[in-house]
């Protein structure tokens, strides 16, 4: 257990350390910056955020995010700016729209469908033991 905790701590520390020298002096701004860059996809290494990716393009986009934050732009403005150029795919949370409503609601819908199946199965199973008990007697 202790080894597992140590391993997790090491990995988390390593991940947090990537590009740690880039950022802001102000801790609040820096925290916001780190949160934001974890929500933007690296288009080159598509399974990583620009926070984690070592690619050049990720570095360029991180620099762009820092410049826009320094110029006073909000997180939403920065995300919109990037999506206008690279498409919604660059955002880890695509905006809710006519194209993405199914994507967003699918987990809830599946849960609902599963819940209905579960309820009906339980209800039909609840019928059986009564009959079997009677037969066993």
């Amino acid at each position: 257990m202790r080894r597992l905790v140590l391993l997790v701590a090491l990995v988390l520390g390593a991940v947090a350390g990537i590009h740690a020298q880039e950022g802001f002096e102000d801790p609040a701004l820096n925290a916001r910056y780190r949160d934001l860059i974890h929500t933007i996809r690296c288009m080159q290494c598509q399974n990583q955020s620009i926070a984690d990716s070592p690619s050049d393009v990720a570095g360029d986009l991180r620099r762009l995010v820092r410049e826009m934050m320094a110029a006073g732009r909000s997180d939403d403005e920065i995300r919109t700016y990037l999506a206008e150029r690279y498409g919604d795919f660059i955002l880890y949370k695509p905006p809710l729209s006519s194209k993405t409503w199914l994507l967003w609601s699918a987990p809830a819908l599946l849960l609902l469908a599963g819940g209905i199946v579960f309820a009906r199965t339980v209800r039909s199973r609840m019928q059986q033991p009564l009959d079997e008990e009677l037969e066993a007697c």
Binding site: Q44, V57, D60, L61, L64, R85, Y86, G87, V117
Partner: protein, 176 residues
């Protein structure tokens, strides 16, 4: 009866979506620039520092904007085809992306220059405006400076004939 049909139906539906997903190519991400005016920009000309490449150059004809660099192997492979296209009369403009201008000039001198003008984007800021994240990437731009298409990775005859040339034809048709 139903207890068999429902899971099978769910399997078929889910399989359909997943199968479709397997066939999609994550490398070809649809550009949000398509159908919109080309982003305004101005870059210094690779061969002549006092001249500029800008979006104004696209006006009045169908043009290709090709993002390339000397560090990009695929750019080397697509280069002969770009020379062919240029010879056949297609206007091709280049953006030299995050590269060394001296090396870029040598490259063109050795391999041939298919570009009417090449703009130098050493930092890559103009490329970000175009939604570029690597090389090679090629845009097709119409006479009214509308971005008609984008192709990520090597431009070759097949891509030209199946993707770009038909768009030019249909766009020409729409203009009349």
């Amino acid at each position: 009866m139903w207890r068999y049909i429902v899971p099978i139906a769910l399997f078929v539906i889910l399989g359909g979506f997943l199968g479709r997903g397997l066939l999609l190519n994550p490398g070809q991400i649809e550009s949000p620039l398509i159908g919109k005016p080309a982003p305004a920009f101005a870059l210094p000309d690779l061969e002549n520092a006092s001249a500029r490449l800008s979006n104004e150059d696209f006006a009045g004809k169908y043009s290709l904007l090709n993002v390339w660099a000397t560090w990009c192997a695929e750019c080397r492979y697509e280069h002969p085809f770009l020379l062919e296209l240029a010879d056949s009369g297609i206007s091709i403009y280049g953006i030299n992306y995050k590269d060394d201008p001296e090396a870029a000039r040598d490259w063109l001198a050795t391999l041939g220059d298919p570009y009417e003008t090449t703009g130098v984007d050493e930092i890559g800021d103009v490329a970000i405006d175009w939604g570029v994240y690597g090389a090679p990437e090629t845009f097709l731009i119409g006479p009214d400076q509308t971005v008609l298409a984008k192709h990520i990775s090597q431009l070759n005859r097949e891509v030209w004939e199946t993707k770009f040339a038909p768009l030019i034809e249909s766009d020409r048709g729409d203009q009349h």
